[in-house]
Point group: D3
């Protein structure tokens, strides 16, 4: 059974939609990830987790063609960053989602691989809901926000708070599990944000427990010399394989949760 | 010493910027908040916390003129919701922030009173950073995300998970502390989201601990009949006063943290 | 009877719309008003006139939540000006008006307090008419363009042509009537446009009687050193109170005129 | 000496700019003008006045290529109306003005032939001022707002208030003076707005003296059955020739006034 | 029988649409055309061909009012170029086409006189098709792409490949046939692109037969010192008259082909 | 030597730009390609040609990360089409190109795999030239417009005019050469456009030799029942392999031609 939207003939897409399969859309970005990781880190991690998860449940989901380029203007001081203007990016993803909805997909899950894509993707999926007047369930999740990944994080991480952010222990481990030949661990570093608690973040742990949950995003190059924000030296392929499996299982779990969610009628008071 | 931007004569604005005072900008929205609360709930809570906090530290901060109308298309099934299109809203707030930056304010804190404003405001403040090429620190916080409010939440709340969301225990208590005459507690209800864990939220507790951190926002009227999402019946003026004080102190703390943050130079690799 | 939209519970908004009350929406801007007036001059004058007028006729009108930030790029050389990009401003106001229309308000009057807002507001209200396909009467008026204010101007003003423009006799008098403690009359000046007749204006008298009615708006700082355009020295609290009463009565008159206007069917020739 | 921009070779355009000639840009629209006038009424009147005025003072002005299509959504119920979306129209005219500024023209006068273009053109010319950072004087005038035309109106008009609006005495007379063969006076009518004073207008007399100066623009077809708003039956070729001469002389006067206006430096307080 | 849209009274436009006449819309631009041709070359050539063609078949076509300003940012180094931003230009033309469609024209042919307008006009006409959901046939043609012109080119041209591009043998000949008094043949030159085969073009011959069909458009001033791209010295009035006749006949042929084309129903698979 | 941008570490991207390698960016779309081909036909053909060509000349070129989603609104009647709004698509590709330029790439070649992308991509690459003020050579080519492919077409094609359009002999052959398992040749058909000469096209032969070169794009489903436009039955893997080799060699040729092109200075006349 085909699970890749891309490989389907047009009437097979129609059938997939009629089977109420969840459309899983990976979105990421290209940007510097320190001196040890390629610029496609976010793309590889996100698409591989989606690819493998959907492949295991082809009757329940479809892998929509990834949107690899995302929103990353604050990384432009480092070569390799390709950034799309905020509103163009939102409209682009919304158009992909609305195209899927046009063809009958009623449940669409955008899976994100890049932190700064979070607000644009929340908006893109909300716009899809509004444009379809509520007939479609469309939303997003960061792969590190999947329940099983958060759980795995609590078990597996060795670095302290701040260690599993951009290019740190978590992402480096995952890349090692997927394409070890492209990682140069000899250049892996441990670099942390110089900012105070309320302006801290950690992919797996979220905002700092001793800080306010503020959203501040200065230029990346003001915060890090290496481009890394976290402890890449703690990464290992073994942990990466466990994170990968957690991501796959966590995504399957969420797809099923979404598939079981009823699309309710609106109670318009007008 | 004047602390309201609005009341200053133009050269006083110049002086305030030269004193490196933090510009605090409240942003909210008008929308239904159940049968017991006025549609300005988000506006009143947010602006009052800002007003009172800045009034206590006039030499450190300036109260910028609030942007009261926000982003709330999914609430339009209920009368009283005034919603601004996503990109217009983002550009509007960005223009206010960039105007402040143009006049010399180097630290700008947007304080948000409406959950769905979070992604647009994150983008608006990021755009301000980009447009000023990193010379300005600009970001946002939800008033319920202030460290002291989260702390107060853990101490004060009586409802279980989900009880302190839209129009629930937290917001109703705060409104009772500010304008009790406008609250009709006889109509207060306890209504919860029918969705499963990964699609739950709670202002004070965040995403459900047993779910993935997914962002799904269907039309509000599909999730609630009363418009409330939480337990308004648990609200009290006493709790509201404590939440209010926590908000004021929490905001002062964050303003000071921001004021102490160094604006670092970019390390542009080009 | 509640007359403030903001303070209504959502079903009260519904009732107000069903009563065919006119929605009165104040719109202004923050900008320099000379060395003697605060930057909120346009906001205070406009919102106070609306507030007081609507409070007198609650069964006929509703005070919609003001849009305080407006369009003022040519004032940016002076600190304190907050300007919204032209199309963002138009869309923002249009969204507020269309939200009101969505909830059933059929007559919407935007009351403007800032000269340069006039063309954007004319467009915003026209767009509301077009988006609602003509089912709504929506338009704008400057508070100094109200019949009774123009009449009062002819009676009360002491300065000659050009004296009642930006920060001059008219606006300063009104501010003195509303918040005298914030006015520093010791700094009030009389400064006039250096331009010739066709490029002159006067809030109360309109274009120069000996000139063409041209619209030219160079940067404000090229025309005035103080920021004032008019004769602030002629202002007095007494005149301000009379202008204020004229504004209130003039607005009530216009609201009633609008309320009595039939919404006619279109004769579409297609 | 060439006065038409269109007929110049590129280096002649350079020379014209270096001579500080005023660029005169006619802008109009195509729309119904009643059963007796062609849809190009606004275009013909406006461009002919400009053409003839500039031809008389070639060393002082240049006729820029007209923008014939304008903003007229509220006329779309009548065939023949071609309307450009508001922001597209504004940007289009701004681009023409900024192109002229790019080539060295420092004084640009947009001459308008269509009432509803007034706010968009005011914005387009303001944007040109802002984009050129104040180095260019750019503004607009309606041909019926020229001093000599207003004067002629007071002398020549025979209809009472409201008679010289859309397709009425004034416009029909002018068209009769220019292309009498295209006018069908046997179909000329006298039709007036059914609205009350504050919503009245008259091209030559402005707002109603007994009303507030409100801007309300409902769909045209709700106000008139014939499309005419005014008294076309009072039109004559003789009056038209006098109005035409007044327009030509009035425009020459304004061009000279503009050419004599100094472009002053900004006093930026930053 | 009237053939100019502009000169029709509104109900005559309605009749013209009901007669299923093809709306022919000329679009061009103003830009430098070398030291021997006026900046309106593209406008004159395109509108004259349309004017004359439609005049010969008034019962089959209508001449829509031309859009003279187009897209030419890469020519801005030369005075006289007036350029409209890409998306504004596309929307403007689309609005004209959609206005025509709104009034009942079902076949719309945009005739282009400026090479760089080709992609924007293709998009503008496609958008018209999409906005009308396929009920209208709308497309574009460059006047040098008309079958009879290409044929005439093969017969008449004397210059070798590259000689009939911007301001070269073809355009100069046509201008000589239309307004010889405005051409300064003493300044006519032969200048060619310095680029290699794949980046060559020739209005009449298309891409270079020995190159790839690539689209590269560097700034014009990098490719030519005179502004000309082609051999203007080979131009003559005699050839121009033949090209003109070919254009007129070619356009009539295409209008008839379009008029004979059935508007087919969509086979929507949803 | 790495040739995939995606796999480079950020400083390797810097080095690749410093080596003046040509950035090759594949762009395509997902859409129905008849009952025998998957919806990723345009993506696979275009990216595979680019991948293989760049892999052969890693010291001269870099494979930029493909933009797979394109512009195809007229195909939306068939399932599987994912379309991006025209201006969003243009801005997205422009942002990728400008990001590449920001990092130092001076020669950027967009390789297109979808006919309707041609005008948007021409605009996107022109915008890149304008935004970089002419410092970058950026343009596009359709893979079937490569010199060697056109040549191969003349040699290899068996179908007559119109046979090598959408999903026809050419594309099907190429797909058979790349992923034969995904092609269902039992469903291959020969279907042609019902339109007359001037509205015909053929990927390899271009416009019809007996027609005008008009651009008309009605909804796809009005022209074809199968979705195919051409003769898929003439396809073979053998021809596909030859077309593929021609594409690879043709692209290498064009990359080298581009790399040898001097970036010339502008002769700005201002």
């Amino acid at each position: 059974m085909k699970y890749r939207f891309a490989e389907m003939i047009w009437y097979e897409v129609k059938e997939a939609a009629e089977q109420d399969r969840v459309a899983v859309l990976p979105v990421a970005t290209y940007e510097d990830h320190g001196p040890h990781l390629p610029v496609d880190t976010d793309v590889v991690l996100c698409t591989e987790i989606c690819e493998r998860a959907v492949a295991r449940i082809p009757s329940e989901a479809v892998l929509a063609p990834p949107v690899p380029h995302g929103y990353s203007p604050h990384h432009m001081d480092f070569h390799g960053t390709l950034t799309i203007t905020w509103d163009t990016f939102i409209r682009y993803v919304k158009d992909v989602c609305c195209s899927l909805a046009h063809h009958g997909f009623k449940r669409i899950l955008v899976v994100n691989g890049h932190g700064s894509n979070t607000p644009p993707l929340d908006l893109a999926t909300r716009l899809t809901v509004i444009e379809t007047e509520g007939r479609v369930l469309c939303g997003s999740v960061n792969h590190w926000g999947l329940r099983k990944v958060k759980e795995a994080g609590r078990e597996l991480r060795e670095s302290d708070y701040g260690g599993t952010s951009h290019g740190g222990e978590f992402e480096t481990s995952l890349y090692l599990a997927l394409r070890p030949d492209l990682v140069d661990m000899s250049k892996a570093v441990d670099e942390r944000s110089p900012l105070s608690n309320s302006f801290q973040s950690d992919l797996l742990a979220g905002g700092h427990p001793e800080g306010s949950s503020a959203n501040f995003t200065p230029y990346w190059s003001t915060k890090t010399a290496s481009g890394v924000m976290g402890d890449a030296t703690k990464a290992s392929r073994e942990k990466g394989e466990k994170f990968l499996e957690a991501g796959i299982e966590g995504l399957i779990e969420l797809v099923r949760e979404l598939r079981a969610t009823e699309i309710m009628d609106r109670r318009d008071q007008h």
